[in-house]
């Protein structure tokens, strides 16, 4: 049994010759870290760096622009997870710079909270074409896959923009060698895909990895383990969310994903094209692909190609190269109510999380947390 206090003490007292740089790639983790105040608390020995952790933030502009185009020019109903509606695109489509803009101008665009809800809308509106703009990482793509493998009405189409997490992390590690000392791997992605998926970071990048859950104890256990790796000069894969994450994940969910989708190269906003990082329809589902039924639009930018590095502040934040509050727009031109970049829109965007938190103190968490004990498995 480990108490929060002893974990905090342990981590704070670990002395290192230089700060230990830990990349996290999950908006849920970033939120928990920021809320608990771990960044401030451990600043003398740990740097906690948010990376590409949110499927909304990295959804390419051309996909959003295409969804706007379908809604305003092709008279379809676009349904998507709520956050997607507010994500701004730099190149306007028909005078609209987000789906919500298009909605305000009369396009039929509706927020949903589950893929099943998208199907229900199609059943309720048989005379309309419903396009489900499907965005997500593995965690969300598994439920989407399960939904798409059901019998679906003919008026139901999908604009698929799902992504795999690990290839983006591999990309960040390859393109910025010697920038990070350890990785906190995403708990809910690993719930589906298994902890073993992160072995590559150890094998190819010599980076210790710990899978964390979302409560402070679990994150502290991960931090402690990673620091221990550093002190003992070992590199291990540890699972600090074993109650939910299994070594090989959820086999049924993985089989369903493989049945519904194939893996393709895909574009990430702010990053460029990453090989083998996107979901495409398996041939049995290719009839659902909305891009078969509607002509493509000209999207004026480098977006469809590989943009290895640019100067937009959001892109630096997504790649873990810049802290959100170092952006000149942070809290000024860019706020949750009037976002300039995607990272300020999504609940799991690093800028949004930092903006909503201000300075947080650890004391609240300890008060809550000292009744909880975490068992090491």
């Amino acid at each position: 049994m480990y108490s929060v206090e002893s974990l905090l003490r342990d981590i704070k007292n670990t002395s290192l010759s230089k700060p230990f740089r830990i990349l996290n790639v999950c908006g849920g983790h970033e939120r928990a870290i920021t809320r608990a105040g771990f960044r401030t608390l451990f600043q003398h020995n740990i740097h906690l760096i948010p990376g590409p952790g949110c499927p909304v933030c990295i959804c390419p502009e051309e996909d959003i622009a295409y969804a706007i185009h379908l809604a305003i020019n092709e008279n379809v109903v676009i349904v998507s997870f709520g956050d997607m509606l507010r994500v701004p695109v730099e190149h306007e489509m028909g005078g609209c710079s987000s789906l919500i803009d298009a909605k305000n101008q009369g396009a039929d665009i509706r927020p949903i909270s589950s893929p099943q809800e998208a199907v229900s809308i199609a059943l309720e509106e048989p005379r309309k074409v419903i396009v489900f703009f499907a965005v997500g990482f593995e965690t969300t793509m598994a439920p989407i896959a399960a939904t798409l493998l059901n019998d679906l009405p003919n008026n139901f189409k999908v604009l698929l923009s799902g992504r795999l997490t690990w290839p983006a992390v591999a990309h960040v590690l390859e393109s910025q060698p010697n920038t990070f000392d350890a990785l906190i791997a995403p708990g809910h992605v690993a719930t589906i895909m298994g902890s073993e998926e992160w072995q590559f970071a150890i094998d190819h990048h010599n980076l210790p990895v710990s899978i964390a859950g979302f409560h402070p104890e679990s994150l502290l256990l991960s931090l402690q383990t990673l620091l221990g790796n550093c002190s003992n000069k070992v590199v291990t894969l540890s699972n600090r969310y074993p109650e939910v994450v299994k070594q090989n994940g959820n086999a049924a969910a993985k089989a369903i994903i493989n049945k519904a989708f194939t893996i393709v190269d895909a574009h990430w906003r702010g990053i460029g094209v990453i090989p083998g990082s996107g979901f495409s329809f398996a041939s049995r589902l290719s009839h659902l692909d909305a891009t078969n039924d509607y002509a493509p639009v000209d999207f004026p930018s480098q977006c469809a190609q590989n943009v290895p590095e640019t100067t937009s502040p959001c892109e630096k934040v997504i790649l873990g190269k810049m802290a959100p509050d170092a952006c000149p727009f942070f809290g000024q031109e860019c706020k949750p109510a009037s976002p300039k970049g995607a990272c300020m829109v999504s609940d799991e965007g690093a800028c949004r999380i930092w903006y909503s938190s201000g300075e947080r103190s650890i004391t609240n968490v300890i008060k809550k947390g000292n009744t909880l004990k975490v068992e090491m498995k």
């Binding site: 909270s113 439920p143 589906i192 409560h215 402070p216 049924a252």
Partner: protein, 75 residues
């Protein structure tokens, strides 16, 4: 976007379950946990209407405490 929340299984009919958390009930698909045994009274992690994993009561409790803080803190 893909927060998973713990819910208690109240009733099961084929692949569909009625789950409850904090007095709110919801239809949840058990499609993705078909390899696991899920019984009435069990706790599951639910994401966008699908159960992703079966968890214990204690784990559900811990996650709920965390979520309560998130909600209180965002409000």
């Amino acid at each position: 976007m893909c927060l998973a929340i713990p819910m208690k299984v109240i009733a099961i009919k084929g692949f569909n379950a009625t789950c409850e958390a904090k007095g709110v009930s919801r239809e949840v698909s058990l499609h993705l946990v078909q390899g696991l045994e899920v019984k009435v009274g069990d706790y599951v992690m639910v994401h966008v209407g699908y159960a992703l994993q079966v968890i214990t009561y204690d784990d559900a409790q811990v996650t709920w405490e965390m979520l309560d803080q998130v909600i209180a803190y965002d409000a």
